[in-house]
Point group: C2
Chain length 340, copies 2
DNA sequence: GTCTGGCACTCCGACCGTGCGAGTGCCAGC
DNA sequence: GCTGGCACTCGCACGGTCGGAGTGCCAGAC
């Protein structure tokens, strides 16, 4: 009935006002700033119901209302329209990202761009190794018994590892090894590289077999298994700026969690390309992220997300705008990486 | 005379007490905690002189004294003994850094280690490209007319660039190009790589000349010229923690300056390996760094610093301990990188 | 039944005045 | 040249007051 309808309208108004003013919002202010067509007294009744249902709360008696996590959730799911980016913002994205020279540069620019657009902390994950395929494997001899492996993936990531070999290696063997590895792994996804090893060992000429075993063991251990995924973080200054009030007192635990990377990494990698995922406050379970929201999305082609990116900020954030920004940036980055 | 002597002793005591308590220190407290052999009244006279000379100041009448930048400077230059690291700290350094798998990992661990030891923001510069030498140049064909160059330096850095070529390239040419580039640049310092190009162009077979020109132009432009140097930053949570009081109100400009990188990069690259450099407060000129001190040192062999590392914190920091930590870490990292 | 205006009540936060304590500068005496 | 004593200053913590914003409830209007 029209009853419930209006109540949701009230909730939406509360969220909007609170996000923009940071003051608990009262019935009078609501009636003034939004034309809900009813008097403050009626709004008070609605607010009482919303509070009972757990969507809003008051910091103390005789203060206005503030949305709860549950309130934000409802707002994000049902009450907010996606806010299209302005032309200026669209152009800013292109201007910012074009002219990047390599993957590191692209992701560095992306994180700065996101931080600037949303005025929040931005987080970008390097393309997941396990979902990447081998474009080239280079073997360089760095000393008599040490080799450096350089892995180049189709997503532009470059990873290197030094391998200590039990015996000295001659230059010819290095060249053979290179050819062997490349023909075995070229185009193979890293997640499936493990399966190729037995074949490889079998077909390898006897005198190389030990070497191949050592090298492929290192490859699997350090590159495939641990999901060795990197994160770029930027815009932490935004945390210190306005949000000092949002995170009661100190932002330090949050900064620690961000530097830790592992927590955020786990959250950010659970994404699909295309659908923006919002996690609000306590939904994050992890202690340091209580009071914080994440807005994340995958980038890359829809079928195959290369990695995730997003923002971290106080639960009191402008979700529609930030969701739009995150989505637009991800889309553009995805295109950019697909080209190269 | 013994007069001046004692006055300096008073200054040292003030710095030490202020650093550890964060309270302006008064004559009485000084007399109690340090045996200077004189009464509070005498100390008061000394303090009046020190204030006149600009080494200390009082936040307001009837408060204790606080060191000025000039006071810290004198303390660092003449009054502080280098504090040897504890055995536990020494072992922590080894435990922390051993087992790193590549350069990225080494520097990442270093920055975390430094941040933990000093409880300040830590900063580590990647080995300067211009002072590095080429260990290997790899050329990989990524599409008909595009090549990826991968540069591996003797310091373990790996940089890649994609080069668009005007015409399609066949696989044979790629192999030739690889051999050509490596024989021309192997072991050459990047700062001197520019000089090799004319030679290279001359000796190159005619059918490769255009390709070589394009490729070496990209190499020089993107890798040699701009001093494209990276920075790893960590421990920013330390800023938010205690130092909220030190940087009046907000740490946000400082965080911005750190993310900007360019300012810090300039400061950190002016270092010698071996001698720890301390910059205090206003000595940093740059606005955001007023109120902050940098403790930096170069790492690598004494004759040839690979890069710089150090910490950024409030001027009110424990200089002797932090200087010792920075020096010890730099030394260890230098060894580690020399080995590989 | 639903909305509205009015009213009494609550309670936070800003404001203000006071008193305490820490610290200083100065001075006379050793 | 050092010391103890003394008067003075000043920031800050403490406690009480007051105003305003906001609420809940109720009786009456539509």
């Amino acid at each position: 009935m029209a009853h419930d309808e209006r109540r949701l309208e009230v909730l939406r108004a509360i969220v909007q006002d609170y996000v923009s003013t940071n003051d608990p919002v009262g019935s009078k202010a609501l009636a003034d700033r939004h034309d809900l067509g009813v008097s403050p007294a009626t709004i008070r009744n609605d607010m009482a119901v919303l509070e009972e249902q757990g969507y809003i709360t008051q910091p103390h008696t005789s203060a206005g209302r503030v949305p709860t996590d549950k309130g934000y959730r409802l707002f994000v799911d049902r009450l907010s329209a996606v806010k299209p980016l302005s032309m200026a913002e669209r152009r800013a994205i292109e201007r910012f990202l074009d002219g990047a020279v390599d993957l590191h540069d692209v992701l560095g620019r992306t994180v700065r761009l996101l931080a600037q657009l949303t005025r929040q902390v931005a987080v970008v994950q390097y393309p997941t190794l396990s979902r990447s395929a081998v474009r080239h494997l280079e073997v360089v001899q760095v000393s008599a018994s040490r080799l450096m492996l350089v892995l180049i993936t189709d997503t532009g990531r470059v990873e290197q590892r030094v391998v200590d070999c039990p015996a000295d290696i001659d230059a010819g063997a290095v060249a053979e090894l290179r050819t062997l590895l490349n023909s075995a792994f070229d185009g193979v996804k890293l997640s499936e590289a493990g399966g190729k090893v037995p074949d490889l060992l079998e077909t390898a000429p006897a005198h190389l077999r030990g070497l191949v075993a050592t090298v492929s063991a290192t490859l699997l251990e350090t590159l495939v298994e641990p999901g060795e995924d990197r994160l770029v973080i930027g815009g932490t200054a935004n945390l210190a700026r306005g949000s000092a009030l949002d995170f009661q007192g100190t932002v330090s635990p949050l900064l620690e969690a961000l530097e830790e990377q592992v927590v955020v990494l786990r959250l950010i990698s659970e994404v699909d390309a295309g659908t923006v995922l919002v996690r609000i406050g306590e939904e994050n379970a992890h202690e340091a992220l209580t009071g914080a929201s994440l807005v994340t999305v995958g980038y890359g082609s829809p079928e195959r997300a290369l990695g995730g990116l997003g923002i971290v900020g106080p639960t009191r954030m402008d979700y529609p705008t930030n969701m739009a920004a995150v989505r637009a940036v991800a889309r553009y980055v995805g295109q950019l990486l697909a080209e190269s």
